[in-house]
Symmetry: C2
Subunit: 318 residues, 2 copies
């Protein structure tokens, strides 16, 4: 006999994660009950990963769990919020206990690492799909939006861009990466690291922020639109690996999705904070890649200026 | 050219619903920002509806939207919480603008009716699937769980049981309903009404509550397990339509899913409140259908007692 929905959640997902803000009532009822501490605001996002759309079908259950939670936490990171709780809705083609064991064990590990508690969920039969809704907390008024960029602000990105897109291209045999880059690029694709460590930096200094899920050019355009400004990006300053540089394959960094790095804008008076940050956080380097302008959206490349207005990032729904 | 994920949400789902607790930051950023008023707790649930699993493939877009939101609101109703905000994750096989127009317009109507605001979401291509995460609010400590039932409490249900299961059986041509019952049963299946009006009654009087999604026998068993008690149900007192009574087809009421009525337990000292409620709320009648006992789980039927322990309700994952 197959386990019921009730016992699946109970059996595989009990006691997943932890948080500084324990739920008043967690899994096992019609809904969870949460206390949002005085002086804090709740920050909420939802994201679905579908097999064959958002990750290759052959992705391991452990990597699917890791990525599904990470992409949601990345949205919180972009708002300068700290994770507190999440809900899971899992649709699976069959009752594959080995898959569930691997998935839930990875989910438990990642949710412990990032201090976020699984407060409820449901499972059902259907095409492989993982939806996670995450709630973070932020001190009142300290969240960062896409709407505050001003002319003259620096444009920063965290980490390295394009590795996830390279990993996917390698998997799909569109390119062949050198051995030395395969692991880092496949990890970038399958196990993105939400940049939660940037929360305080963003809350203090950034005028706008977004996480990079669909590619730098498309995602930055949301900041530009919401802030009603333009941007000039400098291709030479993009933080990319040597393969992209040697092969002049900057489109992986500009248009490739799945980086889950943070792109933010920084008023000129805080420019000194970049070096300060980079010295203290070698694992999460910030690179200055351009500047906010009044209207145009351009890429400066070999001393030429390329119009980015009609270029979009990866579009899931196309 | 197909619209991007960004423009789909913006185009079809902007300004959907409203609430007494407007979001500080709603759709259009990485996440929404919400204020939980002092003295209130947040109540959160998530539910997915998959085409062909949770609703027949031929269900209209308007009905899918209505049901997807209603089943989530029903979870809040069972906790005695009032709806505030929701997030939507929609997966669609193609870019069917007619379907999206009908779906979003129905979602807008239902979310206005129940005063709940759409604060964000995403769309992607995949098998038809709608996930909604809903957040409600409840005055601190006034939520109702599955765990408070005590021996001697009355067991109540709202509305009429079995209509949704009859509607499904009729659609699937397993039975043929008389004309006079078709509309009410199909409406029960496709457009369930979350019993949010019961919130104050439950908070004041109920010792435990659950919403009926998988069938009375299975759902009540969760109250019994969490409260460590038994129950004796009286078949003759089940609120069912004349077709079920005439055909002795009580299994539709006992085991059929999708009723989205509330089942709650009521300490003896509040029994007078039932008549009082029913006189004031003819559209949401409460029926007393049995009693909480020490251990056994039985159905009293034609003066005989039938063991319910091995009977379960509808299992999505089977």
């Amino acid at each position: 006999m197959l386990p019921t929905e009730f016992s699946l959640i109970e059996r595989f997902f009990a006691d997943t994660g932890n948080t500084d803000y324990p739920a008043r009532l967690s899994q096992g009822d019609d809904a969870a009950v949460l206390d949002v501490p005085a002086g804090m605001q709740a920050v909420m996002s939802i994201d679905t990963l579908i097999g064959g759309v958002h990750f290759p079908e052959q992705t391991s259950a452990a990597d699917v769990a890791c990525k599904a939670l990470a992409v949601n936490l990345s949205d919180l990171a972009a708002m300068a919020a700290k994770p507190a709780w999440f809900l899971l809705s899992l649709s699976l083609p069959g009752n594959d206990e080995v898959w569930l064991e691997e998935f839930s064990s990875s989910l438990r590990q990642v949710s412990q690492d990032y201090r976020v508690e699984l407060i409820g969920g449901d499972t059902c039969r259907g095409a492989l799909s993982v939806t996670i809704q995450v709630t973070g907390l932020v001190p009142e008024g300290e969240y960062v939006t896409r709407a505050g960029a001003r002319v003259g602000d620096s444009i920063l990105v965290s980490g390295v861009l394009g590795n996830a897109a390279l990993g996917l291209a390698h998997l799909q045999q569109r390119i062949h990466l050198p051995e030395s880059l395969q692991e880092v690029c496949l990890n970038a694709l399958n196990r993105p690291k939400p940049r939660l460590e940037l929360a305080d930096f963003l809350a203090r200094y950034a005028s706008a922020a977004i996480d990079l899920s669909d590619g730098l050019v498309g995602d930055l355009s949301h900041i530009l639109r919401n802030s009603q400004v333009g941007a000039a990006l400098r291709q030479g300053d993009l933080p990319v690996n040597e393969w992209i540089r040697e092969n002049d394959a900057f489109d992986y960094a500009l248009m490739g999705g799945d980086d889950y790095e943070i792109c933010c804008t920084l008023p000129a008076q805080y420019r000194d904070r970049i070096d300060e940050w980079n010295q203290a956080h070698p694992d999460c380097p910030l690179s200055e890649i351009g500047e906010i302008t009044a209207t145009d959206y351009t890429l400066i490349k070999d001393k030429q200026s390329v119009d980015l207005k009609d270029r979009q990032g990866y579009q899931h729904f196309s």
